[in-house]
């Protein structure tokens, strides 16, 4: 299911226009990011948990050029599916 199909179906369900749905999805993402930035975990029932995890900085070596690069630390979004969802798609 690509983005277009998803937006259309979501618009149908919520009785909104696709443009409105698009906008709302965008806002939702920003709201999610804001909440997650605080270090909170987001628990969505019957779906899963979104959590921000800190990845430490590391040094990588390019195998072909032997060039060493320092990758900075970063915050990555991790998703953990709920038990129900896990079982469903097993």
């Amino acid at each position: 299911m690509n983005n277009k199909e998803f937006t259309e179906q979501l618009a149908n369900r919520c009785q909104l226009t696709t443009a409105q749905t698009k906008r709302r999805i965008e806002r939702m993402v920003v709201a999610l990011a804001d909440a997650l930035e605080e270090g909170d975990t987001l628990n969505i029932p019957n779906f899963g948990t979104f959590e921000v995890k800190k990845k430490k900085e590391r040094i990588i070596v390019n195998p072909s050029t032997r060039q060493r690069q320092l990758i900075p630390p970063k915050l990555a979004l991790a998703f953990k599916p709920s038990a129900g969802l896990k079982e469903k798609f097993k």
Binding site: M1, N3, L10, R27, L32, L75, A76, L77, P81, F89
Partner: protein, 532 residues
């Protein structure tokens, strides 16, 4: 902080942003995730722009070990739900760490490592002093310096190792020769001009050479008297080997000291501006040393011809120790001063030293033009001259290629003009190699940009100049200044220029659809536009 948020919490957040009721927002969110679930069931993947891709991935069969029993168990192939956040969401989440960038770690040394290497260079020079001294031609710029150090060490060793005079003696003649060579080249070719140019240093070096010479005959002449058992042949040969070089030296320094005494006073006069105490001390010690040394030399020449009385030796020994102590004081003082000035010149881009150099350069202005001919004519003498001046200007650690480069620049530029090259020589002698290029390339286009740059408020210590507006960017959701800076100029650090240029008081709060003027940035050193 560190709360477990539920769908309702997000719904309230969304409701605030969208001006809808929390119920509506929650309904929307529920529908969103419900639809994702259904989409997964149908297509095994759901892609939502701005959010991410949720899909079902196959996990192949693998073997594992039961943690509790240690039994090997087979985990069958299955599928699982995976979520890959969209770039947009990923950047939003990584916002606190957005200013970090990937750094390429180079093999070649960084600034601090160079600094450490400079400090480590001193002992290494001391360690390799025999190799350096045996190389009769001064290929290395730092040779006089190492020779000085060597002579100091040599001199320090002498009182301790009086019982074994054979070990220092083979070294000292070579030092004398190696030190004599630059001066001998200087003396005939450079004549008065080069002598004037390098007068303070040359006289210094000569004095040191004389001092380093002085101990060896004393110890040698002492050796036969104290230790009668010692075979005469090594000491005799060493004496013979010394006496020619010594006599040569006596002639050359005598001339140059006499001729350069007045000149050295003139030349060291500018130095007095910055360090009156050290300079005067240096001058005093120089003169006192030279007077002492000439006496010593004369007596030594006499001594080598006739057998020396015991009392005279002890007298000269004490005299020598006094001069040695004085010299060590002066040297350590100078060394400390040079180190201090060097660090100062590094931090303040060599302002005090340039003043000194310009003084000396102006005072010897006419003579340097003559010197330039010598520079162009004989590379060895000019190398000596530049190396000597380099040492005077505290950049004693400049590497040979750099000095050669500066030499070429000096010779070429001196032919063209008189006023400009002096600036260039100052810059080349004071600045490290990387800055030399800058100073030379920065002459013509700098004028245009600096006038332009004056119109705008600049970052005091930034590496770029604001010279105008590049374009205007309308701030959108998910934008941030770091990302904007990275995408426009290639690095996060230029965000501060955007903040300054737009007069943003709180960089953390930027309104949606706010127009951000992106400044046109010019690299301060290369003077090339930074925007991509």
């Amino acid at each position: 902080m560190n709360q477990r948020l539920t769908l309702t919490d997000i719904a309230t957040l969304l409701a605030q942003r969208e001006n809808i009721t929390p119920q509506q927002a929650e309904e929307f969110l529920r529908a969103f995730f419900q639809l994702t679930d259904e989409g997964l069931e149908r297509d095994k993947f759901v892609k939502v722009t701005g959010f991410g891709t949720t899909k079902i991935v196959e996990v192949s069969e693998r073997e594992s070990v039961n943690v509790n029993t240690g039994e090997r168990i087979q985990i069958g192939s299955h599928s699982k739900v995976s979520f890959t956040p969209d770039n947009h969401l990923r950047e939003l989440v990584n916002r606190p760490f957005d200013h970090f960038t990937t750094i390429t770690l180079h093999e070649d040394t960084s600034e601090e490592e160079l600094e450490a290497a400079n400090e480590a260079e001193l002992p290494s020079l001391l360690a390799t002093h025999t190799d350096v001294s045996t190389a009769s031609v001064p290929e290395e710029n730092s040779l006089p310096n190492s020779a000085i150090k060597h002579s100091v060490v040599e001199a320090m060793e002498v009182p301790e190792e009086e019982s074994s005079p054979v070990s220092p003696t083979p070294l000292s003649p070579t030092i004398a020769q190696s030190e004599a060579t630059p001066e001998q080249i200087d003396a005939p070719k450079g004549s008065k001009d080069s002598a004037l140019h390098t007068a303070p240093f040359v006289s210094c070096v000569q004095a040191e050479a004389l001092v380093s010479d002085a101990p060896s005959p004393i110890t040698e002449s002492e050796a036969p008297s104290t230790e009668d058992v010692l075979p005469i042949s090594p000491s005799a040969t060493s004496e013979e080997s010394i006496t020619p070089t010594g006599s040569e030296e006596i002639i050359t320094p005598a001339e140059s000291v006499l001729s350069s005494d007045a000149l050295s006073e003139r030349n060291t006069a500018p130095l007095l501006h910055t360090s009156s105490s050290t300079a005067t001390l240096n001058l005093e010690t120089d003169q006192s040393n030279s007077s002492h040394i000439t006496n010593i030399q004369g007596s030594i020449v006499v001594k080598t011809e006739e057998t020396t009385p015991h009392e005279k030796i002890s007298f000269w020994k004490t005299a020598f120790f006094i001069t040695l102590a004085l010299f060590l004081c002066a040297l350590s003082f100078l060394w400390g001063y040079y180190q201090g000035v060097r660090t100062n010149s590094l931090s303040l881009s060599g302002m005090p030293t340039t003043a000194v150099v310009s003084d000396t350069m102006l005072s010897t202005k006419n003579r340097t033009t003559d010197n330039s001919n010598n520079l162009a004519a004989s590379s060895s003498t000019s190398l000596n001259a530049t190396s000597a001046t380099n040492d005077v200007n505290n950049s004693s650690f400049a590497k040979p290629p750099a000095s050669e480069a500066s030499l070429h620049q000096v010779s070429s530029s001196l032919e063209k003009d008189l006023e400009k090259p002096q600036k260039s020589t100052i810059s080349t002698q004071n600045a490290p190699p990387s800055q030399q290029k800058v100073a030379h390339s920065a002459t013509s286009p700098k004028v245009d940009y600096t006038t332009e740059a004056r119109k705008y408020q600049q970052l005091p210590r930034g590496k770029a100049l604001i010279v105008g507006t590049l374009r205007t960017h309308t701030f959108r959701t998910g934008d941030n200044l770091y990302r904007l800076a990275r995408k426009t100029y290639g690095s996060n650090e230029f965000a501060s220029y955007i903040i300054l240029y737009n007069g943003i008081t709180d960089p953390d709060v930027i309104q949606l659809n706010q127009a951000i003027k992106l400044p046109k940035l010019i690299d301060k050193e290369k003077l090339t536009p930074l925007a991509q």
